[in-house]
């Protein structure tokens, strides 16, 4: 959890807006440090988290979260965190075994044209399992869905339309129905105006998701190139008007990622410059 980001977004683990769809996107950069922030943020807020980790192994997220002060292994044991490890599940699909494991969430790998129905079923069963029947089960807060990341689905053959359908269904279930939050990461590579609609869908996906979401954080490198002290810029854009009638809808910050977190500062106020 990065404290400066919390103050930028005006949220704390004790009070945050519910029913939000937060979109993280990057262009030729890496916004995954924001995923780690939101993961530790919602775990600290005692929410029930469903994490679809499609591109890295569980130990990767665990190691990073430990640096941020959260233990994913403990959260998983307590039932607060439901983790889908896409890589290991995919191996059982890609290399057909004699005995197949039960989890069907990654079945879209078998035939990407079918869509993400099985993945959505997995998400729905994770966030709605209330565990009320167990004794001693702790009461967790509203459910939260985190996806890292959606562009991997595009590269594995799923169409952009199917991914948009998936995110829409998840939003309807998690945000509207259960008043939880949703955080999704989308990555783009090319220049913004270069691609036409047929590029495999990443621009289409980004535009579609930006239309659906309520808060977007867009990470980009600096236009002047690589800099050791400033790793890039983050553009925060609120799409729904805040309750207290905040006027500012867009804010731009620069950030630097270091060993135990990330620091955000206004443009030109990097500690290396001042």
């Amino acid at each position: 959890m990065y404290t400066e980001l919390n103050s930028i977004l005006s949220t704390t683990p004790d009070s945050f807006t519910q029913g939000e769809f937060i979109l993280l996107s990057d262009r030729k950069s890496d916004a995954s440090f924001l995923i780690h922030h939101f993961l530790s943020f919602y775990l600290r807020a005692r929410c029930k988290v469903c994490f679809l980790g499609l591109v890295q192994s569980f130990s990767h997220y665990n190691a990073v979260s430990q640096r941020l002060g959260i233990s994913l292994i403990q959260a998983k044991e307590k039932g607060q965190l439901i983790f889908l490890e896409g890589l290991t599940e995919s191996l059982s699909v890609l290399i057909p075994q004699v005995t197949s494991t039960g989890n069907e969430a990654m079945d879209f790998l078998r035939d990407p044209s079918v869509g993400l129905r099985s993945l959505y079923d997995f998400v729905r069963s994770s966030v709605t399992s209330s565990g009320g029947g167990e004794e001693g089960a702790e009461e967790w807060g509203p459910p939260v869905l985190l996806v890292d990341d959606l562009s991997a689905l595009l590269s594995l053959g799923v169409s952009a339309g199917a991914v948009l359908d998936f995110s829409h269904y998840c939003q309807a279930t998690v945000c509207s129905q259960l008043q939880g939050n949703m955080v999704m990461l989308v990555r783009c590579d090319g220049e913004e105006e270069e691609d036409d609609w047929d590029d495999g869908g990443s621009e289409l996906l980004l535009k579609g998701l930006t239309h659906q979401c309520s808060l977007t954080l867009h990470v980009q490198g600096l236009p002047t190139g690589y800099c050791r002290d400033i790793h890039g810029q983050v553009e925060v854009c609120w799409r729904r008007r805040q309750g207290d009638g905040q006027n500012t809808q867009k804010k731009l910050f620069q950030y630097k990622v270091h060993d135990k977190g990330a620091s955000f500062f206004a443009r030109g106020t990097s500690s290396a410059v001042l």
Binding site: K28, D30, S32, F33, H36, V55, Q56, S57, F58, S59, H60, A63, V64, R67, L87, T88, S90, L91, V93, L94, I95, P96, L109, R110, D111, P112, D149, S151, A152, L154, S155, L156, G157, R187, C188, D189, G190, D198, D199, G200, S202, H231, G232, K256, V257, D259, G261, A262
Partner: protein, 341 residues
Amino acid sequence: MAAPVNSVGKPSAERSSFSATSFQKKTRSKLISIPGTRPSVQNGQLLVSTGVTSLDFLLGGGLAVGTVLLIEEDRYDSYSRMILKYFLAEGVVCRHELFVAAAQDNPDDILQELPAPILDDVAIHKPAEQPRLSCEPQDSLDAMKIAWRYQNLPKVQSALASSSRFGHYYDVSKTMEPEIRQAAKCHRFYLPEHPAQSSPAHSPMLESYSALLKSLQEVIHREGFDVAASMSKSRNILRIGLHSLGSTLWGDDLSCHDNPRHRHALATFLYGLRALLRSSLSVAVVTVPSHLIQDRALNGITRLRGIGLAEYEITHRSTVSSSYTVSDLLVNCLGGPLIDT
């Protein structure tokens, strides 16, 4: 911590027998100590050398275990093949195990072209020489008059054995001696030797890629490269070299059609490869002939790079001054990719 854990201290038998010093570093730390690797100074990941020391420097110290280095081939596959051979030669010198897969050339041919390493002269104790020197004082040419205390030391500085150094130099004009090469264990995958099996109705990958992935998984399980494997035997690294993936010889029409039917086969394969690598002590170098990929939608190989399927990528721009740029996708990441512990 960042580095893979749960390993007991390695027995001293693993130390090179050539070292003239009796100093043994006490390894109380839980890092696995495998010859030819070292922990990164930035985040403690286990690194191996690519064989090219300047490339190691660009990659931030070396190639992290559990990651994929994607090289876009230049037009005549000269430099990309050279980097692949350096990578494999480094594996031979460090006594890692190799896995070479190719569709065009027999992996044996690739292995025979490995450059010869330049090893320091190792002190071969000549016991016959020392008594001769001491008991024949009229050998005045060799006898030292001033620094006579150093008389009985071996003449050549005994270098630490090659396996404990990180990054070696190679003489490209010579090929590696067969004795050195055969000392390393090599697994081969030559596509024509694997006949196409009838695949199930809908498979996301081509049969060639599926067969390769399956063969990789078998080797990793059998030879004990899984991180979860028992710690009783000493650990080693598996170096995987995949040549020219995505070319038509693999059965992939990515390189020859504007709208390929198997558009996502290579990406799916790389996804499966990443899954295998993350759960084992292995590192992969893949060369892809991206200059052949016509698909407008894929923009060359940028689709794969954009979603970070390879952690490092060396791209080639065939401009007037053909150059390679290394894009390190891990720069400024809060945590690099780590293998399962």
